[in-house]
Symmetry: C2
Subunit: 329 residues, 2 copies
């Protein structure tokens, strides 16, 4: 095993380039470095294209974060690349067409985050319906002894929850919310044959028949700004949106307007269109809970992610099948 | 029906005294007043004993909040009382021994809040494990763009959750947390015959074998300060406590110490020993989520509660069985 080799064998360790770098790399830098020779462009004075031209012409594998844009232009500077391992479940930051053209394999975090992401989605929804963050502020601001009456929340049971994108995350959200007595339906490109939840092939119709929308879909050309003003108005004045997918699935400017004007009631957002920038108008609203794209950030998932990422890289260098290759389109 | 009588029939409506007054009375004052002639001691200049002596000597029914102490001394001033209807599920504010001695029937909110209380318990737990309130503050304080790294949360799945008191609320909490993949066990006076969760007859042993304690028991002499320092130390440094029962089930001073000293990791508290007063030390801790005894406060439950309270009162005045009498001890 590479990890058992003495430090002076570092030159013989397989070389990888780390792009981003992902949080899991920062947390497991020592472990990665004991198994791979790591190129660290963010520590270099050179601009990235120069660094790649000087140092990475023979580099065969890259580890990248979900926030790092692996465009055709960047890929062009990595002529020997045969593998990209991304720490995200989403793939919208990678030019997959270019990868296919160049024969670059891609491995992702697969489904290991699904439970964690679903947990946060449900947590955000409970917070909004039951005013948990609002209550926390109310008590911490010392208002409880002065204002006897606290605004009522809304019951979770019986709410009609529309899951947008019933992949592995959506299924986990549905499973949890069923235990609270919610009525589940979903929007998806295709009806899922093994699922008994009500299926809506039209996002507008789903919104019209839901109290809550939980966005769990991938960001693609088709889902970009899919949640537009029309969909939000259909959801209605008591409607609640939870987004743990990608910021750009919602038209964020319209979301801000709809919240400000009371066209929808509340939103729980783990993702934003221009992270880490959040529209300032949201800070002023009591009806939103904001989360710093933290749905996958648990100690347990980080350990599991490190093992999966390193396992994919080692499989590639020893010509074994990848552990979590992305599915063929 | 009394509610269909014209206003000048108010003298013929059955008389009740409202004590507290409960929030649901404030919300449904008009509806209660159309069905009952309401004595309102809080609107009088007289101290309560004087008001009772002057006005309530023939009053046969009382509607009271869970925060109003119906002691033997108060009951002594209500010589004609035959029924107390309390808007709470808990009964620790009523001198039940004196009620039995005097033949006063008691009706409560029964189980109508169980789902709502369980929802808040799970919401508080998700908030603590996944740092939702902390994340909300982090984003709202504008820290996200400046501090790339956000502290990791803890996975919900796989956590060993000890339910303290497996009544109707505890069962609802367990059902929800099972859907998240938690392992459920419980402490109770007696083993529940129809339940497969692991049973601990000893609270200390439950704490020793749990990552999380969710307190769902009634406050009685036996449960007062049951969660003491020893139990918290047994729960351990990564341990999390959620209390949606009554504040005094925990020794609150010791809880503050244990949180400050890191003897336990976090606490989600909807109830406190001296509500609405909250220990100031808790305001300074990031590891607590504070809620203003709001577990039952949903719009839907208030409607249901109004109907149940008014229904109990009408049943009493028409000699029908109460809708939600408290069980015999």
């Amino acid at each position: 095993m590479a990890s058992n080799q003495p430090p002076d064998a570092a030159q013989q360790l397989p070389e990888i380039i780390v792009l981003g770098p992902p949080s899991v790399f920062r947390a497991y830098d020592g472990e990665f470095s004991s198994r791979f020779q790591v190129l660290r462009p963010w520590e270099s004075q050179s601009p990235l294209p120069q660094f790649l031209a000087d140092r990475a012409q023979s580099t065969r594998a890259a580890l990248c974060s979900g926030a790092f844009s692996l465009s055709a232009a960047i890929l062009c500077n990595l002529p020997s690349l045969g593998l990209i391992v991304t720490t995200s479940a989403g793939l919208d930051h990678i030019d997959l067409t270019e990868c296919r053209r160049r024969g670059i394999a891609v491995a992702s975090a697969g489904n290991i985050f699904s439970a964690d992401v679903a947990d946060l989605a449900v947590g955000l929804l409970l917070d909004l319906l039951r005013k948990i963050s609002t209550g926390n502020r109310f008590v911490r601001d010392g208002l409880w002894p002065r204002q006897a009456e606290y605004p009522l929340g809304v019951k979770v049971g019986g709410k009609r929850v529309g899951i947008v994108g019933l992949g592995s995350i959506g299924v986990e959200v549905a499973k949890r919310l069923e235990a609270f007595g919610c009525a589940i339906s979903y929007y998806s490109r295709k009806k899922k044959p093994l699922v008994s939840y009500a299926f809506y092939p039209d996002i507008y119709a789903l919104a019209l028949n839901s109290d809550v929308l939980v966005l769990c879909c991938a960001l693609t050309e088709q889902t970009h700004h899919m949640i537009n003003r029309e969909v939000m108005v259909a959801l209605g004045k008591d409607g609640v949106i939870v987004n743990i997918a990608r910021g750009a699935v919602i038209d964020e400017k319209e979301l801000v307007c709809c919240l400000q004007q009371g066209e929808i009631a509340a939103a729980g957002l783990d993702v934003f269109e221009n992270e880490p920038r959040v529209p300032n108008e949201l800070y002023e609203l009591d009806s939103v809970v904001l989360s710093p794209h933290a749905a996958v950030f648990t100690e347990e998932s980080f350990t599991e992610l490190y093992q999966l990422m390193a396992g994919n890289l080692e499989a590639f260098f020893s010509n074994r099948p990848l552990l979590s290759p992305i599915p063929d389109e």
